[in-house]
């Protein structure tokens, strides 16, 4: 059974003459453990699709199922629970809380969890270890680099061990070195079983994905695997870093 199922999904903003179909009649499935890239020009509907997959934007039509759960059939509070248990978000602009330390930011998804402070700290430290930032747990986001901020955001996304990671332009604000670091990290998480849906403008980053869906004008216009040989070696950040080599 597919992990994620999207059926006839549409999202329309506005009404009457000012109506805009950000996503239109989309159908796809994503299996557990897949790494899917979502590409398209600005305004193609990528972010809208990701917000719908993130249970934060009720579609105008269609269904969104995760492991058989009709996500938008849940109440708003249950959708919050669903996000906490099933999803991890990695945002383009990191969206870390500026007055919390790195460790506290990673612990944030555990705020409502039924565990004591020591357990929460242990899990957060483990997540920081995965992203290689366990030594910077006391720092504030303003005291670390952009790449490190993004890695903290990844740690926060995985601290609850969610089966699905949603990443919106995770390398959009990073230089090439940090981009490579973050993409390596995502690959490692994918190898460990996480299902990843990543929105990206970057063909280089989409090369890490096992499958790429291309959107245009709110529609899914193509999807398929991008074989490694189809990508120019000069754009790959070290051959060993490519997930599907």
């Amino acid at each position: 059974m597919s992990h994620i199922i999207v059926e006839r999904l549409s999202k329309i903003y506005g009404s009457g003459d000012s109506q805009v179909a950000a996503v239109s009649n989309m159908n796809f499935k994503i299996d557990s453990g897949e790494f899917v890239g979502v590409m398209g020009e600005s305004g193609a509907g990528k972010s809208t699709l990701l917000s719908v997959l993130g249970a934060m934007n009720t579609p105008s039509a269609g269904r969104y199922l995760v492991d058989g759960i009709d996500v938008y059939g849940l109440s708003q509070e249950k959708q919050a629970d669903f996000r906490r248990e099933f999803l991890g978000f990695v945002f383009q602009r990191f969206h870390l809380i500026p007055y919390l330390t790195v460790l506290e930011n990673v612990m944030l998804p555990l705020t409502c969890a039924d565990m004591n402070r020591r357990e929460k700290q242990a899990r957060a430290r483990a997540a920081l270890a995965v992203v290689g930032l366990e030594n910077k747990w006391k720092r504030l986001p303003s005291e670390i680099s952009g790449g490190e901020n993004e890695r903290v955001a990844v740690a926060r996304a995985i601290v609850n061990d969610p089966p699905i990671l949603l990443a919106d332009e995770p390398t959009g604000n990073l230089d090439s070195r940090n981009t490579g670091e973050v993409m390596k990290l995502l690959c490692r998480l994918n190898e460990n079983g996480a299902t990843i849906v990543m929105v990206t403008h970057s063909a280089e980053c989409s090369a890490y994905a096992g499958r790429v869906m291309t959107l245009a004008d709110g529609r899914l216009v193509s999807e398929g695997r991008r074989p490694i040989e189809a990508v120019s070696p000069s754009f790959i950040f070290g051959r060993e870093n490519v997930c599907y080599a």
Binding site: M56, Q76, R83, P98, P109, D168
Partner: protein, 385 residues
């Protein structure tokens, strides 16, 4: 990381806004506490003076005579050469409904006598009742027995009499048992003796000229007691001396009501300050709240964070506001009315009330901002999604 941790860290980070909210609450609470403390202290002072005043009900024979003064007060008609009150009728006072509120009943028989060619007013009184009715009396010597007298200060000076010296009243040999310290009232010009002795000397057996009654506490129903006593003594005129100070009490009541009105307005403004500042804070934290919601915070979790912030500031505001209000009132009295400063006391009930009021205002004012924060659409809040 708990919701409380997030709330406290946010308060610490936004010190300016936190201080602004705190200042609003502190000023509101301090104003209320200060006004209530002031009015309470003033009420105590006036009550204290009322108690010092002694009698607050006067019973006099019904008469058409013009008013005379006694003790600096306008009494109505006291004609001591005309009809008096039967002493036996006074037993009826003990049978009124509010008899338990009566502290003392002091009958007085008055009459003029001649001592060494001088006309002096002789008053026969119940010296036991006088202890309650005239607590300001200071006696050099002792209170008189049956053949003794107590001289007012002026009387002693004018007659040139001192303690233990003999004095003849209507050919009856008596001695001076004591001399009153000056009271500044008509008492300074009287001679006092026991009721029985005075009734014999004045040839007024079984009658009294007037009766002073002390009713306990300021909350007792003086007007009702006047009506009840009037019923028992239909031939006498009963009136509340409290009428003399009623003007002051009414002023205090007016001030009390005014202070409550001002307090209400100040509390309302304090609540508005909290509301507006919290609304601004919620708008500033749009992205942050979006993150909370995106990572799985329920609406109630977001509201709880807002309420915790409000509760912490309100609790601090309540305590500081009470201390500031109490301190300002005490300082004000020390500077302007030192004697009354001791009436301004730390009041645990008022402190608890101040804290509760601050919490109620803070939490009520935060309800709408908390609701707004919880309703925020996470995808719009984060913008990148």
């Amino acid at each position: 990381m708990t919701r409380k941790d997030i709330a406290l860290k946010n308060l610490w980070r936004r010190k300016g806004k936190s201080f602004f909210i705190l200042a609003g609450l502190v000023i509101a609470v301090a104003t209320v506490v200060g006004l209530i403390s002031f009015v309470t202290a003033m009420t105590h002072t006036i009550n204290h003076q009322l108690e010092k005043y002694g009698a607050n009900i006067l019973i006099v024979p019904k008469t058409d005579n013009l008013a005379l003064t006694y003790g600096g007060m306008t009494l109505g008609g006291v004609a001591f050469e005309t009809r008096e009150i039967r002493e036996s009728d006074l037993a009826g006072i003990a049978t009124i409904k509010d008899a338990a509120s009566i502290a003392a009943v002091g009958p007085v028989v008055l009459g003029g006598v001649e001592i060494e060619n001088r006309h002096v007013l002789l008053a026969g009184i119940d010296f036991d009742a006088t202890r309650i009715l005239k607590p300001w009396w200071k006696v050099s010597g002792a209170l008189p027995g049956p053949d003794e007298v107590l001289l007012g200060a002026e009387t002693a000076r004018i007659l040139g009499l001192g303690i233990h010296e003999p004095v003849f009243i209507k050919d009856r040999a008596m001695s001076v048992a004591g001399v009153l310290a000056p009271t500044g009232s008509q008492d300074d010009q009287l001679i006092f003796t026991t009721m029985g002795t005075a009734q014999v000397l004045l040839d007024k057996p079984g009658v009294v000229s007037m009766v002073e009654v002390a009713a306990l506490c300021n909350a007792c129903p003086v007007e009702e007691m006047v009506a009840q006593i009037s019923e028992k003594l239909p031939d006498a005129k009963t009136m509340a001396i409290q009428q003399v100070v009623r003007g002051r009490m009414e002023t205090l009541n007016h001030f009390q009501r005014f202070s409550y009105l001002i307090s209400g307005i100040v509390v309302f403004i304090g609540g508005l300050v909290v509301l507006v500042t919290m609304m601004g804070s919620v708008r500033e934290r749009t992205e942050e709240i979006g993150i909370f919601r995106a990572i799985g915070f329920r609406k109630k979790d977001v509201m709880e964070i807002t309420f915790i912030e409000a509760a912490v500031l309100s609790a601090i505001g309540g305590v500081l506001g009470y201390l500031l209000g109490y301190g300002a009132t005490r300082l004000g009295f020390l500077l302007l009315a030192k004697k009354e400063a001791a009436m301004v006391l730390l009041n645990p009930t008022l402190a608890a009330g101040a804290l509760l009021m601050a919490m109620a205002v803070g939490l009520a004012a935060s309800a709408y901002p908390a609701f707004m924060a919880a309703r925020m659409d996470p995808s719009r809040a984060l913008r990148s999604l």
